[in-house]
Assembly symmetry: C2
Homo-oligomer: 231 residues x 2
């Protein structure tokens, strides 16, 4: 099935999340239409959808840009996410069924494998993508075990942002190993039905991600050095 809107939405979204279109990049409907070989109509819809997700800002009659994020906004994003995912982990501890607990363990193991593969080869985009997917699968499993659809959609909206993917790409071996450890600790807590502990661990885990990203940013001299925001 050739649904242009959906196709443009997914590909453009990926370009933004992975940083191919850097924050601040200008996105005109006409150029995107040419690039995706369709008319402006489906492009327009995809752009509006990304706007309502907060990945893009559209200035009326002026054009759309990939939304530039300040360090404060990155911190906000991770902190809200920490709250929501901690809540999901608490619910999961209470509501999960045996089969789901096993699947969660499997997801944690799969992340271990993807992390092992990426260590020492951070330039292999395919491996990073696999790591990103494994990470998404683990967190997605917790969310799904929470049985709260609303929290799932809200986290989905808060999880994909520019820079997050690149952050994963820049994680060093220590950070990756710590993530693996946290995933297993969280899995244990959920398996044992210890909601409070699961929530606290998840909070710490997400905030660790925030700190890692912010540390990398300041190490390279801030956002401005990475991207020409005004370009």
């Amino acid at each position: 099935m050739a649904n242009d809107t959906e196709r443009v939405y997914r590909e453009l979204r990926r370009s933004i999340v992975e940083g191919v279109e850097p924050p601040g990049a200008r996105l005109t409907e006409q150029r995107l239409a040419t690039r995706f070989e369709c008319s402006r109509t489906p492009v327009r819809e995809a752009v509006r959808r990304l706007e309502s997700e907060g990945l893009i800002v559209v200035e009326p009659n002026r054009g759309a840009h990939v939304r530039p994020l300040t360090e404060d906004e990155i911190a906000d994003l991770y902190e809200v996410r920490a709250r929501l995912e901690a809540y999901a982990a608490e619910l999961a501890s209470v509501r999960a069924e045996p089969a789901e607990r096993l699947a969660l363990r499997a997801a944690a193991d799969a992340f271990d494998g993807a992390a092992g593969a990426v260590i020492g080869r951070p330039d292999d985009i395919a491996l990073v993508r696999r790591l990103d997917e494994a990470n998404g699968a683990f967190h997605g499993a917790v969310l799904s075990m929470s049985r709260n659809r609303r929290v799932q959609t809200l986290v989905a909206a808060a999880v994909d942002a520019p820079l997050v993917f690149q952050a994963l790409q820049r994680f060093d071996a220590d950070e990756l190993r710590r993530s693996c450890l946290f995933h297993h600790l969280i899995t244990d807590a959920i398996a044992e039905g210890e909601a409070g502990r699961a929530g606290r661990l998840m909070t710490e885990h997400v905030l660790q991600g925030r700190d890692a990203l912010l540390a990398h940013l300041s190490a390279v001299g801030g956002l401005g050095e990475l991207f020409e925001v005004g370009a």
Copy 2:
């Protein structure tokens, strides 16, 4: 400025939130275009935006419906909201400036006034709307004091849902007075910088809203009695 998309979006949204378009109601682009006296293009954009907010479901090539909510989903909604607003209240306790604390007190007082006006006259839609706005102003003030934009947008997406407005409409005097009390208790906690207490009070306040809505629903025999979901 006559921006049709924006106009259609706002008016249609209000119709849905206030229950003029009941859950399950069918919304075809052509009919909406006629109703709003414009072409299908802006209608389409407004519908898609409402879809991404979760107020509408669009079945491909089939048509759009106001999203029917189950009681479970209503509970989910309020519980997520409780977490997010509690977080905002904690942040506000730490970050708010004196002028904002005064403004919050004023918002709580304004809600008292609107609640007093609506008691005994629950059929006056204008009064209920004012109450809804006063409530939104209070909660919005807390969110704004949190200095976390992300939590503001997420709560905004979680706060407007079908039935919530009607719930307010059905609140009896006791429930309204309890809301007033909670608003002032929360204001006090924030003013005194007691983050933990502010968060706990906010949680309780939002969950009280959930219980009131669910109680009213079961009192009238469940969702099915209120609306023909399949219609």
